[in-house]
């Protein structure tokens, strides 16, 4: 298969492994931002191939994991209403809210449907004019264009029964939050290839310069990740801090202009709460005033929800790379993929679930 198997080539991986070993003279901590990368690292057990002096820290780039509890509770509140068809990507179904998850809401008789694209939710809205159809628009910059496009499409079709419950987070402000936190010791970053496919990587230049920390835009296959790590280690060993692009077969410096235009026609940047981390300024997208008729939070009257995280869940520390999942007392005991206490145990991209399945 073209463009997949080539990047899982054992000889190429071995060459990179040897090169990283030759290069490394001291200990380095490298954070992969994206949950997709965390998943690949676990699935191929890439840590086994690295010298002991290199530590991979798993970053906050799992959209399921960082969606605030309050949003999950709002989703459950909306999904439980009789006049609603609630649509979502599959892995949001099992994320625990403060009481239930969407799977339980579905088992209780509500109409909760898994879709593969927000445009499918638009179609559902068109064929169910007597129902309010809500799509749970979760994700990083990557999913924003398609979600925004669904709003434009709903408007074009004149639909009055379609809306988004939006919860979008952005990578660069999260990296800045981690870099400005003196207790998080991260020497270099693998930036998320897919986010940069949409957004380009100009936004990272000021971070590299301000914090003198290497950032390498990296892909998701084993060869990509090994090469990304090699490029970061090479910079660190040479005392450089540059912005480099390993994923050049996909990522352009300015990103995908058409996708960005669609995103910014519907969304605007605003403050956002990250589950387990807290509010990060200017770190998310909100639906702009112009499209507020498609904003589920404006359409549905939801009283103030009281939200409480399970006290024993250390998701916040894990998402910031300060603790490893196995350092959590609940890991594998009271918290498993079947009965997660926190979101990182739910999605295959979550650090805890990845550890549980592959370690």
């Amino acid at each position: 298969m073209k463009y997949v198997q080539e990047y899982r080539d054992s000889t190429l991986v071995k060459n990179l492994k040897n090169k990283i070993e030759e290069l490394t003279t001291q200990s380095w901590s490298i954070m992969e931002i994206c949950g997709g990368q965390t998943h690949a690292i676990m699935k191929y057990n890439i840590e086994e191939l690295l010298p002991e002096s290199i530590t991979l820290i798993h970053g906050p780039g799992c959209p399921v994991c960082v969606t605030p509890l309050e949003k999950i509770d709002k989703a459950i509140n909306i999904a439980s209403r009789k006049d609603v068809i609630f649509t979502t990507y599959g892995d949001m179904m099992r994320v625990p809210g403060s009481k239930d998850d969407l799977l339980t809401v579905k088992a209780n008789g509500s109409d909760v449907r898994m879709v593969y694209s927000p445009l499918d939710a638009v179609k559902i809205a068109e064929s169910n004019p007597n129902k309010k159809v809500v799509f749970f628009a979760v994700g990083f910059e990557t999913t924003a264009p398609a979600n925004a496009a669904s709003v434009l499409e709903a408007k074009r079709r004149g639909l009055k029964n379609f809306s988004l419950l939006a919860s979008h987070v952005l990578v660069p402000p999260a990296i800045e939050a981690l870099l400005s936190d003196s207790t998080a010791k991260i020497d270099g970053f693998l930036a998320a290839g897919h986010v940069c496919t949409v957004m380009g990587y100009n936004e990272y230049q000021p971070l590299v310069e301000k914090y003198k920390t290497p950032i390498v835009v990296t892909g998701f296959e084993p060869v990509d990740i090994m090469q990304g790590i090699y490029m970061v280690v090479k910079q660190l060993e040479e005392g450089r801090a540059d912005l480099e692009n390993q994923y050049s077969r996909v990522v352009l410096k300015d990103g995908n202009l058409a996708a960005k235009n669609v995103t910014f026609s519907v969304y605007e940047v605003g403050d956002m709460t990250w589950r387990g981390i807290g509010v990060i300024p200017n770190s998310g997208y909100n639906i702009s005033e112009k499209y507020s008729e498609f904003d589920a939070e404006k359409i549905f009257d939801i009283e103030d929800l009281k939200v409480e995280e399970p006290e024993s869940c250390i998701a916040g520390l894990i998402l910031q790379g300060k603790k490893k999942p196995i350092e959590c007392g609940e890991f594998g005991i009271n918290c498993t993929p079947e009965h997660p206490l926190g979101a990182p145990m739910v999605s295959t991209e979550g650090a805890c679930a990845a550890y549980f399945h592959y370690k």
């Binding site: 799977l103 990557t142 999605s347």
Partner: protein
Amino acid sequence: MITCPIPKNEYEKVLLAHGGGGKLTHQLIEKIFVSQFNNELLNEQNDSAVFNIENAKLAFTTDSYVVQPIFFPGGNIGELAVNGTVNDLAVAGAKPLYLSTGFIIEEGLPFEDLWKIVLSMKEAADKAGVKIVTGDTKVVERGKGDKVFINTSGIGAVYNNLYISPRNCKAGDLIILSGKIGDHGIAIMSAREGLEFETEILSDTAPLNGLVEAMINSSKNIKMMRDITRGGLSSSLNEIASSAGVGIEIEEDKIPINEQVIGACEILGLDPLYIANEGKLVAFVNPNDSEKVLNSMKNHEFGIDAEIIGEVVEDHPGRVVMKTSIGSKRIVDMISGEQLPRIC
């Protein structure tokens, strides 16, 4: 009354995920059914129960089919219902003989659809050499079923007093997979979700009794077989590793998978190891006989793509470990509930 053994801090109601073939399904079966029906035949937890009546060693099994859509690329619910039960008998080392069938039909099902289903059941039964000898029909109100559900049960005669059981598995035994995995699950998913791929992926639904007969004729040293259905290859291997108390090691590069299935899994964020099959089996074989068995499989229409994918090991009892295509090793866990597509 005995209190429900599913702990209160877990789900209070049955979820779809309890039917996914993974850990939640196992928990349901163990805690609710096995704990109460508890007997030595059931406790074996094989695809069929095997027992002696007079001088005959028989295998007995049952399975229900609720697939949606009822017609899918490569088959329909009817032939699936026949093949599935035939296969559960075959992998117990039995020659499938007689099937029963129960229909739960939703009011409003077009007769034309029912007729198509019945014709394909007849064809599947003829192909597998079994007779459908008894049956039952119920009709439920519109909205109380999903077009049609079919149950089949089957009886077979065990070949030459064969004893197929995970208990036979020992370190050194080789594991043979009968062909490419994931076709059925992806065919259903693409029909259900309206996903279109350049080449259509067809369900692999097939009767495996002919293949099993060829294997048994080639060697007396087949220790364990299982047809890998819901939950995929990983669930079958994990079940066997845990009931046999042995470790299993497989090699990613040896596992045959259709390129279209790999592509579909990449797009959907799924892992082919967890995708359902309806015409594939794994066999655990003494290493001395593995080539003989493999050749017998490759000469059969439903085993052309058979491969030795791994072996039983002494280390890590109860666990399945895979050597990845890049040379590292990782655990292959049993799926928890349903496989949920990722966001990005």
